[in-house]
Point group: C2
Chain length 238, copies 2
DNA sequence: CTATTGAATTGATTTATATCAATTTTTTTG
DNA sequence: CAAAAAAATTGATATAAATCAATTCAATAG
């Protein structure tokens, strides 16, 4: 069993967002708005900081806010029916979460845990819905974001269903390359344990497969987090 | 390799929607609207029929419409990177698809194939976006629908990642029971071959596991499509 | 209604990956 | 910086599920 620390949240630093601290201006779903509209939203946004290991929300809790990552890193995971943990995604600044419980009735199906000290912006459910009715273009941006997520998740599902672990690892590396195409090296966005969970395998198997890929000359482990991709095309044929 | 028939579509019966044929009135994302607004939308909706085996769209095609199932049954599937087919979902009357390519740039990532003769309503991309800007509540309904789908897909991903085939089958049966709780029997919504694909396994393994569940007294196969659930609670502990 | 085709089942075998256990390496903390 | 804890690796083994092949069963067309 994992041991995620459940710190007390009472000492969280909570304050209204001020204009220097434009937490929402980095968010794709809002940053297209006029300054005036942005200010209006900023008035109802609260900012909360979470220490490493603290939970933004837990599975089963009811939801009333949209959470936007201002700084830090958040792990979203769920516990499956049989109680095993599965990492769904890692949120970085500009990403948001909590929307599932916002637009439908029901409770959170996932856990959101701060991986490092993180600053999160909150928008209340009612406030958000009012803005969506007032500024319909925000909805279109959220719909676009949802579409991307849905597609991403469906792709991941198909990979689990049809590809073997080695291929899933290769495809994950390829995805990372797309995002940071600057160099031919990628930085793993999470620990091996989390990556194993994300890829639907075990740390042991992940370790072995990575070693194997290195032996076959497709990749090179520069450090624990940095992996150099030597031959992406060949890697994808694995 | 599968052999999905690629009929010629030229003989499709295409017509504007009239008011007797309120294809969109059965759709959760529209049926909350005033009659007046509904009429307005009906004016831009087209209706197209597809014969069994025909494709509504294919992976890689660009998209410009939202497709709403009026009658019939549609299979959505994708081909994974290695070329294997994975059934993602089966659409029934009232369900819609095509939205992914509608709200983001890019092409379809999936195939939509009529499993039986089906009547589909189309709404053009630009028309839809205009309505969303004019009647923001529609967006909220689509967002709600997206949320459900996203949650469903993430749940499925987690099941692939953490549960063995036998458990996935049991959970699928349980989901079916939720939907048709009237009796203690369920009707499989697709062929065994498709179900195997949907559950990320092979027809052979599916067949064996179902036989096993029957031997152990959890279920009883009434016919090929009808399965009686004898002990759901025990089934879920498998 | 029978013949043909495709779907589903059953059997034998192989393969990928999980599991259990023991080290080694890395990170954290006092 | 040293000690402790956690993470990652490596090895040996067990197991679930895929694959290949053969039959049986069900659906469809002539």
């Amino acid at each position: 069993m994992e041991s995620y620390h459940n710190h007390c949240c009472s000492q969280n630093h909570e304050k209204g967002c001020n204009h220097q601290d434009r937490c929402i201006s980095i968010v794709p779903i809002f940053n297209h708005l006029e300054d005036e509209q942005m200010d209006e939203i900023l008035n109802v946004v609260r900012s909360v900081t979470y220490k490493k290991g603290e939970f933004i929300y837990r599975q089963g809790e009811s939801s009333d806010s949209l959470y936007i990552i201002h700084s830090g890193k958040v792990r979203i995971y769920r516990l499956s029916e049989s109680g095993k943990e599965q990492v769904l995604r890692i949120l970085n600044p500009g990403d948001f979460t909590g929307e599932l419980a916002l637009f439908k009735e029901g409770t959170h199906e996932t856990y959101a845990e701060a991986m490092v000290d993180s600053s999160i912006c909150l928008i209340n459910r009612d406030d958000l819905q009012q803005f969506l009715m007032k500024y319909p273009s925000i909805s279109l941006h959220i719909l676009s974001e949802f579409s991307n997520r849905l597609e991403q998740t469906e792709k991941q599902t198909a990979r689990f269903a049809t590809e073997k672990v080695e291929t899933r690892i290769a495809l994950f590396f390829a995805d990372c390359m797309d995002k940071e195409s600057k160099s031919n090296a990628i930085e793993l966005p999470m620990s091996r344990k989390d990556l194993a969970s994300y890829l639907g395998t075990t740390p042991e198997t992940l370790s072995r497969k990575i070693t194997e890929l290195e032996k076959d000359g497709y990749i090179k482990q520069r450090s624990n987090k940095i992996i150099e991709i030597i031959d992406l095309d060949e890697l994808l044929l694995v």
